[in-house]
Structures are given as structure tokens and as C-alpha cells.
């Protein structure tokens, strides 16, 4: 880590003022990704603004019957919160599929959305990377790209988004509440993260002078029929090669509503409304699941080492939808896939 100044934000307006005043500053909450990136010299802020003292760690019910999660609520507290476990078990399961308990105790809900990619070349400052140094080139496209994206890629970047929680939040149509110098605005979860295009250095649509204050979950939590399945190179504490969040509502033997989002395959949580539309009204069976998987993976493109992800994702989608339909969600502590 190179030298940087430290400042503490006294309240939300102060945090916005400080971040707006210094384009080379970074906010710090849990620090699990930022401190790591600073140690590698990937991110080199001149100033770190500590927001850990802001009153943003509560979870409240909203007037519409949903939940408002404060941006500073630690991942572990969120995963084990009784209202989350009871009404949004998909969120709980996705969090517990990621990182370790130590990191989940540190990492904040808002910070989870702001994680950078785990592409090896992004972390290796000796190699070109358009996300780290715009215009320097992408080392992954013709390099070791086993962990990289198969959907929504560009010539400039094939990095993946690393979060598990975000895949569940995308599936559940969460919204992100942000505050900037001109006030508060909401960003639909699926509009929060970006595809790389020709500006892969910009991960999200959060403006540089805005901060995340809360995440809102709509009332519908799909607590009966859901599953989060994460496929990775070791059984625990590894980033996803492919992960699937599935949630559905079944009425009289037919799928009434359904959600499907993929992790580990794109620069953002991957959802496609057409795949969900194709499932509505169908019987919750393998044939319909396969068709949904085909639609979701329609534009998938493999590179030298990651083409296996396309078939893996197809089978994982079918399996996760089956788990959700049967009411037998993947248990994160038990590694056997049912």
C-alpha cells in the first residue's frame, strides 16, 4: 500500500462533500476489497474517507411491505437477520455461499455491490488491463481466461462481477438508494452494474460523488421456492465459476412467477426477462427449464479456457430451477447437490 491520507466522515452530507471534493479519494467501509486492491497497487487513492461511523446499519420494514437494508449492515448480520432468513432466504443463502465468516463480518452490504472484478490481470499491475489502465489492452482475451465471462463481453474486457449477494438481489428486483450533492435517487438493481463496452473501467452507474445509503427489497421474497447454487473450483471460500439464483411461485402445478439470475458469467448479474417469460404458465419441469436455460445462454461465447462454462451454466440452471420447484434449496454447508 502506498501512502494515503485518512479522513473520517461525520455524517452523510459530509461524506458526499468529501468524496465530491477529491476525485482521487475512496470511501472505506469493510475494506475487504479496497485494502486488498491498495496492497496490490491496483487502486491508489490519495485519501481514504472512513464512513464506518455513519448511521447506516439498520434494517427496517418499508411501508410497501418490503425491507430497507442500511448500506453499512455487515454481510453476516444480513444473512442471519430473522426477517431475511424468514422472508428472503435466497439473500441469506447467497451471502453464505460467498467469502468466509471473517470477511462477511467485515464486509458491508453497500460495499458488496462495489467489489471490483477478480480477473487475474486486473490484479497484476505488470500486465495490460483496460479496466485498470484504460486503453492499455485486455490480457485475458488471449490469456488465461478460465474464470472470465461468457456473456455481455466486449473486445475491451471479459471480466466477471464477483458478488454472490448481488445475484440474489438482481433476481429479487431490489433497488439501490443513493445520495449525491443534489439529493437522493433510486437505481433499479439491474441498472446498477454495467456491461464493459469500451469503458470497462466504470463498473457501476453510481456517480463519483454519490454514496449508497440503502438497498430496498420489494415485498415478494419467494420464501417457499428458491435456491442459490454456486459451482466453483473448491467446495468453499472460492469465487463462482457459475452461480444461479432461482426463485418461483407455483400455483396449481404451473409457474405463476419466476426469477433467474446468473453469477460468474458476466460483468454484471445476468438476467434476461425472455427466459422468465418463457417459464410463466409452464409446468415446473425439466423441459421448460432447459428452454429457459437456452434463452438465457443464447448469446454465450466461450474463450480458450472457459467455453466449459456454457454447458456448466446450462446444467446448473436446470438443477437450480429443479431445486427451487421441489422446495429443496441448496444448503450451503452441505456440498452434495440435490
Amino acid at each position: 500500500m502506498i501512502d494515503f491520507d485518512y479522513a473520517r466522515a461525520s455524517d452523510i452530507p459530509d461524506a458526499i462533500r468529501q468524496i465530491a471534493a477529491d476525485p482521487n479519494a475512496k470511501l472505506i467501509a469493510g475494506g475487504t476489497n479496497l485494502v486488498d486492491l491498495m496492497k496490490y497497487g491496483v487502486v491508489n487513492p490519495t485519501r481514504v474517507i472512513d464512513i464506518t461511523h455513519l448511521p447506516l446499519n439498520t434494517l427496517k420494514e418499508t411501508a410497501s411491505g418490503g425491507l430497507r437494508i442500511g448500506a453499512l449492515m455487515p454481510n453476516s448480520d444480513l444473512a442471519y437477520h430473522p426477517l431475511i432468513e424468514e422472508r428472503y432466504p435466497l439473500v441469506s443463502s447467497a451471502i453464505l455461499a460467498g467469502a468466509s465468516q471473517q470477511l462477511r463480518n467485515m464486509a458491508s452490504t453497500g460495499g458488496n455491490l462495489m467489489q471490483r472484478t477478480r480477473c487475474f490481470y486486473f490484479y497484476d499491475i505488470a500486465t495490460p488491463c483496460n479496466k485498470r489502465v484504460p486503453g492499455s489492452g485486455c490480457s485475458a482475451i488471449n490469456g488465461i481466461n478460465r474464470i472470465n465471462a461468457i456473456l455481455g463481453t466486449s473486445e475491451a474486457c471479459i471480466a466477471t462481477h464477483p458478488s454472490d449477494l448481488c445475484i440474489a438481489l438482481a433476481a429479487l428486483d431490489a433497488t439501490v438508494l443513493v445520495v449525491g450533492p443534489t439529493g437522493e435517487r433510486t437505481i433499479a438493481f439491474n441498472d446498477f452494474h454495467r456491461l464493459p463496452g469500451d469503458t470497462p473501467q466504470i463498473d457501476t452507474n453510481l456517480a463519483p460523488d454519490e454514496i449508497i445509503v440503502a438497498i430496498e427489497l420489494p415485498p415478494k421474497g419467494f420464501a417457499e421456492n428458491y435456491s442459490y447454487l454456486k459451482i466453483r473450483d473448491r467446495l468453499s471460500y472460492a469465487f463462482a465459476l457459475v452461480s444461479v439464483a432461482a426463485a418461483m411461485e407455483i400455483e396449481r402445478g404451473r409457474i405463476r412467477d419466476v426469477r433467474l439470475a446468473l453469477g460468474g458469467v458476466a460483468h454484471k448479474p445476468w438476467r434476461k426477462v425472455e427466459a422468465e417469460t418463457a417459464l410463466r404458465g409452464e409446468a415446473p419441469e425439466r423441459k421448460a427449464f432447459t428452454r429457459a436455460a437456452d434463452i438465457l445462454l443464447q448469446d454465450a461465447k466461450g474463450y480458450a479456457h472457459n467455453a466449459f462454462k456454457i454447458g456448466l451454466a446450462r446444467r446448473a440452471i436446470e438443477r437450480t430451477l429443479t431445486q427451487a420447484a421441489n422446495g429443496t434449496p441448496q444448503i450451503q454447508a452441505i456440498k452434495k447437490i440435490r
Binding site: D50, S100, Q102, S236
Partner: protein, 176 residues
């Protein structure tokens, strides 16, 4: 040409040395007032400033768990925690677990079950286990393994670590 070790656009804009910051940290029941640089991690505070070398530096990137300590009763990795952020916190390291010369039940269980070989990961394993038991989320061996996955043991003492935790869990009955 710039001689900066960083890619273009990432050079530091100023070369003045940031001021040290005064922090108050309670470690194992003892209050400390220290002046530290903003980039000093809690791990380096413990080892280099307070000579508490029980906490180990393994990967220094939050991947191995050797630096696990308890901050306000919760297990965290001290290598990714800036010391300045722990201002006012209560920290417990492996040196603070024994009381009145008697080993903590988890420490005793690690000895009883021979739950280590080289011992380098052990302080982190023990701190992590103490928190695991207080959290109360693990009852089965599968759950212990999953919730201890942030602590790597390259000697591969995992089987005995799980057995040690089960013994301590039974004797502690959920108390720290």
C-alpha cells in the same frame, strides 16, 4: 519519462507524508494509545507496535485466516483491517484467551486433539473457533467445516481441528 512504479495515471499526486493518527485500542483488556500511519493494518499494529506476535501474517490478503482476531467479539482478518478504523475497539488476540493461567477450552481442545502440525495457522484457527462457538450457527461437522473455511491449514490438520472444536463446543455450551 516518469520513474513511478505505477502505470500512467495512477501516480501519487502529492509526495508529502501523511500525518500519523492517534488511536486508542483495547487489546486483551489493556488500553493502548498509539500514533499510527493511515495504512498500518491492525495486524501490523499488533505485531510491530504492541509486540503481540501470536497473531500471524500469512497471505496478507485475507485469503488464509492466519491473522484472525476478535474485534468487539467478532472474528475478522486483521490484515485487511486498517488500524485507524479500529479506534475505540476491543481486540482479543490468541494471547488474550487464557484466564488466570488456565488455557481457554478451545486451546486445551487443540492440544487434546493434536489439531496442528507446524502451528503457524493455529492462533488464527483458535480465534476463529472461539468466535464460531459464540456465534452458535454451527452444530454439525459439515457446518463447522463450512464456517471454518476462512482458515487454511496447509499441514492438513482439518480432521483434528473439527474434533477439537466439537470438544470445546460441548464443554463451553455456547459461552465465550
Amino acid at each position: 519519462m516518469s520513474s513511478s512504479p505505477f502505470p500512467s495515471g495512477l501516480e501519487r499526486k502529492s509526495t508529502s507524508k501523511p500525518a500519523e493518527i492517534s488511536v486508542r485500542i483495547n487489546v486483551n483488556g489493556q488500553e493502548h494509545r498509539l500514533a499510527i500511519a493511515p495504512w498500518t493494518t491492525l495486524l501490523d499494529v499488533l505485531r510491530d507496535h504492541l509486540d503481540l506476535t501470536g497473531t500471524k501474517k500469512g497471505c496478507d490478503h485475507g485469503q488464509c485466516g492466519a491473522c484472525t482476531v476478535l474485534v468487539d467479539g467478532r472474528r475478522i482478518v486483521s490484515c485487511l483491517t486498517l488500524g485507524v478504523i479500529t479506534d475505540g475497539a476491543k481486540v482479543t488476540t490468541v494471547e488474550g484467551l487464557a484466564t488466570d493461567g488456565a488455557l481457554h477450552p478451545v486451546q486445551q481442545a487443540f492440544i487434546d486433539h493434536d489439531a496442528f502440525q507446524c502451528g503457524y495457522c493455529t492462533p488464527g484457527q483458535i480465534c476463529s473457533s472461539v468466535a464460531l462457538i459464540t456465534e452458535g450457527k454451527a452444530t454439525t461437522a459439515d457446518e463447522i467445516r463450512e464456517l471454518m473455511s476462512g482458515n487454511i491449514c496447509r499441514c492438513g490438520a482439518y480432521t483434528n481441528i473439527v474434533a477439537a472444536i466439537q470438544q470445546a463446543m460441548a464443554s463451553m455450551d455456547g459461552k465465550p
